[in-house]
Amino acid sequence: MTRNVAFGQYYPTGSVIHRLDPRTKLFAGVVFIVCAFLASSYWAYLICYAFLFSVVLLSKIPPLQVLKTVKAVLAIVVVSVLINLFFYDEGTVLFSWWKIKITDGGLLYAGKMVLRIMFLVLSTSMITLTSTPTELTDGLEKIMTPLKYLRFPVHDVAIIMSIALRFIPTLMEETDKIIMAQKARGASFDHGGIVARAKAMLPILIPLFVSAFRRADELALALDARCYNATEARTKMKVLRFTWADLTAFLVLTACLTITALIYAGVIPL
């Protein structure tokens, strides 16, 4: 029962994109998300996807590897296509049966929906594929630095995020083991109504929580033993550096954002 944890795993190639400052990549993430929601015409999507495709090429990650990340959200894509297809009723009716009507407008809208979700997933996975969790948390920590003056524990939050990411696969593996152990004792998780099913989850959830707490206890000791919080003047092995490449990326991203916004506002008639 090995699960597919391919979604967003770091894929090192040492490319220009990998070497960008994580802050730049986080900015890119925001731009991508905004673009995905602003893009309203197929032309806008064409621009977005062309941009994304060039980023993929620059990153030297095999495009198929990037495409695979969509697998994790395939169900969401299918459901949203079906919903849009069946319940969008503007335009000429192409096909109708009982209460269901498929219109050309629905078809177009569903197509855009697919493009939008795929773009969201692909672009955000590009960030996680090209940066390590540590880089991303370091980046976030830097961005949040001003909050320090409001006594917000910026560094602790960064560590919490880093540890959470680190323990996801461990806890997933643990869940599989517990499920198997309880199944062997005759437990079944797919019978009965909602209440019965929720109750059937307890033999999984309780051991999982107990184990998570035990791990947290041990980890806390390990953090202390490695001098966590020893000094305010904590250093970093990898110092974040804003380079010319980052500046270029920033300019390109801003341009991309502006164009999409202008298309959205109708200033550029596409």
């Binding site: 770091y10 090192p12 390590t132 969790p133 540590t134 560590i159 880093s162 540890i163 990411l165 680190r166 696969p169 461990t170 791990r215 041990e218 980890l219 000791l221 390990a222 953090l223 202390d224 033993a225 490695r226 001098c227 966590y228 919080n229 020893a230 000094t231 003047a233 904590r234 250093t235 970093k236 092995m237 990898k238 110092v239």
Partner: protein, 288 residues
């Protein structure tokens, strides 16, 4: 080596010294004394093994030695500084490195080199130096090739070697392994032991190995035996494993070669204690 000359007397300085240390856990039902009146010291380059059955207080003692717990009575000091000194506690923890039992619960980062860097980053070491230390630490445990990898995919033995490296990056003088081999398969256990012995012999790292595997104690310089919170005996492997009553009382076990050697001596064939398989075989050959 830290050698002091005082009034013409040369003494090798102890890294770590515990004097009459006791520790009580407080709970609703009152206090339970987990460590009672323990005194011990560890010197530069020594290999010390602490034996004792589950629940005898080994882990509590380990946590007292680097100030993760503070003694209820007595003092633990590292290079003369007591662990109760809040200003020096991090210096103490960086000198007394500790590796724990569960290989999965000691890594903080998803990338190995980031995990190794965590300690020195906390200590405020500068970036280039950290990078150098990461390389040196991974080299010392033979895991340099995995620098950019993720710890999740490693075997148990490899994960523990990473845990050792992450401690080495703080440049400790003594390494405490708190049952760090207990959850490993025989190959993983061997890997970790080989790594620790290498550090001890080649880098003069003092080691305190806490374990309930008797065979791991055979090559120790000294063995400490713990029972009900007390250190009931301290001696060479020959002395400890030669005392069958002690082993029984403390719910320990003789290594197989010792056990068989003991049976032979009971029947009047041997007089010496045989520690290793080789010693036993040699003794038998001499007899025949």
């Amino acid at each position: 080596m830290h050698i002091f000359k005082k009034n013409g007397i040369i003494s090798i300085m102890k890294i770590l010294n515990a004097e009459n240390v006791s520790y009580a856990y407080k709970s609703e039902e009152g206090e339970t004394l987990a460590v009672r009146n323990v005194s011990l010291s560890i010197e530069q380059g020594e290999f010390v093994v602490l034996l004792g059955h589950n629940g005898c207080g080994k882990s509590t003692l380990a946590k007292l030695l680097n100030g993760l717990l503070l003694p209820t009575e007595g003092t633990v000091s590292v290079y003369g500084t007591p662990t109760t000194d809040p200003k020096k506690i991090y210096e103490i923890r960086s000198k007394v490195g500790m590796v724990f039992q569960n290989p999965d619960n000691q890594t903080v980062a998803s990338i190995i080199e980031d995990d190794i860097a965590f300690g020195p980053e906390n200590l405020g070491v500068n970036g280039e130096e950290i990078s150098r230390r990461v390389e040196e630490a991974l080299e010392a445990v033979g895991m340099l090739a995995y620098r950019k990898g993720t710890p999740f995919k490693l075997s148990g033995g490899q994960k523990q070697r990473i845990a050792i490296a992450s401690v080495l990056a703080m440049h400790p003088d003594v390494l405490i392994l708190d049952e760090s081999t207990a959850m490993l398969d025989p190959c993983g256990r061997q890997e970790v032991l080989d790594t620790v012995r290498h550090l001890n012999r080649e880098k003069n790292m003092a080691v305190l190995l806490i374990t309930h595997y008797m065979d791991e104690a055979l090559s120790a310089d000294r063995i400490l035996v713990m029972e009900q919170g007390e250190i009931v005996r301290m001696g060479s492997p020959k002395e400890i494993f030669g005392d069958i009553n002690l082993i029984k009382e403390c719910k320990l076990e003789l290594p197989i070669s010792c056990k068989i050697g003991y049976a032979l001596s009971q029947n009047g064939f041997l007089t010496d204690t045989c520690l290793t398989d080789e010693e036993l075989v040699e003794a038998v050959c001499r007899l025949s």
